[in-house]
């Protein structure tokens, strides 16, 4: 044990970020956690090309999250007079603490993360990973298509940048859903099971959190419930080609992630992802 880790204290101020910061963190967390999950496949993909593909997609998503975190950090630092959730490194004074993309990704605890539950679920087999990525990528596609018109110029710019990448993710994951659904009995069974496991986590995407609602009037956020039709149509078309049954829509849906109430899985992700920064604060390589 070195001195730094002995002295390490987490000092937290009540998390009461502004709505805009919360919204940006929600988008950043979605991309980071999805990207981190996909990166777990690096070196384990079913074949080299697909290992590279899924690692590339993970890289795109982590890159998107960096853009969001950098912007959130910038706003948090400008609005310093506002009480902002800050987690401090050892020896750091609350008044001097500066938010950075790293402090936001590595020093917040599970209840401060605002990602939807879907992205934090374990990868399972290849079919489950593919289905999760597909459901999420189609959502991101329509989300970013709307966010391009945000009155917040930086959010619009990040959306414009990300949209091109997401278009590839949708295409790649759709092809895999079709390949597995319309493949062998075994692959059909696996992708059907994946869909059954994941379906109750899709409703959260279209249920706005308070911070999303309160930013609507200024046209900073978008109306997520309006994305549902496009999402359903796209998913339905791909499922049809994949010979998959489109599940019952009006079932009870899991929620909570957008407001910091997560499944137990997120804690394990953070334990792995944040370990180094917590054990060796500010370490770099």
């Amino acid at each position: 044990m070195n001195d730094a880790s002995n002295n390490f204290k987490l000092l937290k101020v009540t998390p009461s970020e502004g709505f805009r910061e919360a919204f940006i963190l929600h988008l950043a967390d979605n991309s980071l956690i999805m990207g981190h999950r996909l990166s777990e496949w690096t070196g384990h993909g079913p074949m080299l090309e697909q290992d590279i593909a899924i690692s590339n997609i993970a890289l795109d998503l982590i890159g998107q999250s960096r853009n969001f975190y950098q912007y959130a950090a910038q706003l948090i630092n400008i609005n310093n007079e506002r009480e902002v959730s800050k987690t401090l490194y050892p020896g750091e004074d609350l008044n001097e603490a500066v938010a950075t993309e790293d402090s936001l990704a590595y020093l917040r605890d599970a209840n401060e993360f605002k990602n939807i539950l879907l992205v934090e679920l374990p990868n399972g087999d290849w079919a489950k990973t593919i289905m999760k990525l597909f459901l999420f990528s189609v959502y991101q596609l329509y989300f970013y298509q709307k966010l391009i018109d945000s009155s917040d110029k930086q959010l619009a710019a990040i959306a414009e940048k990300s949209l091109k990448e997401v278009t590839y993710h949708v295409r790649w994951s759709s092809e895999w859903v079709i390949r597995l659904g319309d493949g062998t009995d075994e692959s059909h069974k696996r992708i059907s099971n994946a869909l059954e496991d994941l379906w109750s986590f899709t409703g959260e995407m279209f249920q706005p959190a308070d911070y999303e609602n309160s930013l609507l009037q200024k046209r900073i956020s978008i109306t997520v419930s309006e994305l549902k039709n496009d999402w359903q149509n796209k998913v339905r078309n791909v499922f049809e080609e994949a010979t998959l049954m489109y599940p019952e829509e009006n079932i009870w849906m899991q929620t909570g992630g957008k407001n910091g109430t997560h499944t137990e899985h997120l804690g394990y992700i953070l334990a792995e992802m944040q370990f180094l920064q917590r054990a060796y604060p500010r370490c770099e390589w």
Binding site: E49, Q50, I52, A53, N56, I57, L59, D60, L61, I62, G63, Q64, R66, N67, K153, Q154, A156, A157, I158, E160, K161, S162, L163, K164, E165, T167, Y168, R171, W172
Partner: protein, 165 residues
């Protein structure tokens, strides 16, 4: 060319940018790729605007460092590098010279323009080795974010294709 604070001009700065190569595709300069969007110069500092090719492109840090180095070596000490996300980078900005350099390096240059919505659909990519048009997509994702993996059905060589983006 030795530049000093007195004689540096925007043109000279652009020429220096031409000398910086992409770390992952060393035959292309960052101006061939369209990564440098703008250069602004005033009495106290030079500001270089760069745009990432892909959000997670790990080359951006190296590129920013190389820009800093070359300007610094040329006697310019006050340097600001600003990341600009919009308009989003597109392969439409790649120079013709750049496309030719890619081809002779063994990477097929982007086909078509990104505003053409069919760019993701089936397209004909020429094999950079034997120039056959009889090629097939192996994987949409290649050794870097910006490339896909193709194979030539005639000479059977696999090759990288710089995706239209």
């Amino acid at each position: 060319m030795q530049l000093t604070k007195e004689n540096i001009t925007i043109d000279a700065a652009w020429k220096l940018m031409n000398e910086i190569n992409d770390p992952e595709i060393p035959v292309l300069s960052i101006t061939d790729l369209g990564i440098v969007r703008d250069i602004k110069l005033n009495e106290i500092e030079i500001e270089i605007f760069i745009t990432p090719t892909y959000s997670g492109c790990p080359a951006m840090n190296v590129i920013a460092m190389n820009i800093r180095m070359i300007l610094w070596q040329n006697e310019f000490k006050k340097i600001k590098i600003t990341q600009q996300l919009s308009p989003a980078w597109t392969t439409d900005w790649m120079t013709e010279a750049g496309k030719q350099k890619l081809k002779s390096y063994g990477i097929a240059p982007p086909v078509g323009k990104s505003f053409d919505k069919n760019y993701l659909e089936k397209l004909l990519v020429e094999c950079p080795h034997c120039h056959s048009m009889n090629t097939k997509l192996i994987s949409q994702f290649g050794s870097t974010s910006c490339k896909a993996l193709y194979q030539c059905n005639d000479c059977l060589e696999p090759f990288d294709y710089f995706k239209c983006h």
